[in-house]
Symmetry: C2
Subunit: 174 residues, 2 copies
DNA sequence: TGCAATGTAAAACGATCGTTTTACATAAGT
DNA sequence: ACTTATGTAAAACGATCGTTTTACATTGCA
């Protein structure tokens, strides 16, 4: 495991658990097991590190939602929260924490959310056999809602969203 | 307008727009138009101020969702985002920013989310004529999802959630 | 008139922030 | 054997953090 991977993984963990602003660089160097000199040589800055964390997380997330049905989409979310926990969307949280004023972060978030939105549209279209932007928007809302409600309601929100989506898709099909 | 009200209002605005951690006390004193001495005499600490902001916001929010139907619930959310904007849920954001490690904040968030969950259950029960916890969970997910998806998709997510909820309620009724 | 109360302005507190630098060790490549 | 790369440990940078304090002004009530 090279230094880049180790650093990115440690940073994602700390930023996700304690927040971006609340995580100091000293804690980061300790968790990554490297000196601050090496850290900065590798990451450039704290904001750039966060941007890289988000890009890597986007890669991992988007790989998990490469599915053909809406049902599989929420099954993927069930897996995701089982593996990653329920702390809300790190992308939206990063943007909110920085007020959208850190360009590198804001861009990574925008890119992810655009890709996510496009993917939902594709999944709905594949599942339904035709495009349905209105249904796609509802599925997106359910997905986002399950993610955030899970913070205080637990993983049951994902099955609730899955069931709701199934009803909406069935209705759109007939 | 007394000092307490002015301070709480200014704090809510800054915390909401720029984040809790990113907002310094100097910016707060300037926005509230008072010296730091008066501010601390009034608020005690930054965390206590945030807790007060959340309590006040809970009061304002809960007053807006004193409704009898699921449809009116999402109409209330439409009003809310028109007035307050789309920056996600300040309660979840505060908790995430502090990693849940600030008791005063964590408690205010927990209290709000519990009250919110109970209210959704009441609205669904009133609208449906009977309790339906599963439907209530779905409505909660749609509400939370509309709130957070609106950050990058705009207020249209609220009408999408409203339409989806109407379908789910109609189905539960028959 | 004089005493509290309540406010401001501003300096100071120690701590911590993100970042850079200095000084030194190790290991690989020619 | 000498250079280059890559790392550590630790001090230092100036800035900013949340908070307290000092010194002084204003106001309302006895």
């Amino acid at each position: 495991m090279d230094m880049t991977t180790k650093l990115t993984a440690a940073a994602e963990r700390l930023f996700d658990r304690h927040g971006y602003m609340a995580t100091g660089m000293d804690r980061l160097t300790e968790a990554a097991g490297m000196s601050s000199r090496t850290l900065y040589k590798n990451a450039g800055s704290k904001a750039a590190l966060m941007a890289r964390v988000l890009t890597e997380r986007d890669r991992r997330f988007m790989a998990r939602v490469e599915v053909r049905t809406v049902d599989a989409l929420f099954a993927a979310l069930e897996d995701w929260v089982r593996v990653e926990g329920c702390r809300g969307c790190l992308f939206l949280r990063s943007r909110a924490e920085t007020g959208g004023d850190t360009p590198e972060i804001a861009e990574a978030v925008a890119a992810h959310k655009e890709a996510f939105h496009r993917r939902i549209g594709e999944v709905v279209a594949t599942d339904l056999g035709r495009e349905d932007p209105a249904l796609a928007e509802q599925v997106l809302v359910l997905f986002e809602g399950a993610t955030h409600a899970a913070v205080y309601r637990g993983a049951q929100t994902v099955s609730a969203a899955k069931a709701a989506a199934a009803i909406l898709v069935a209705r759109a099909r007939s």
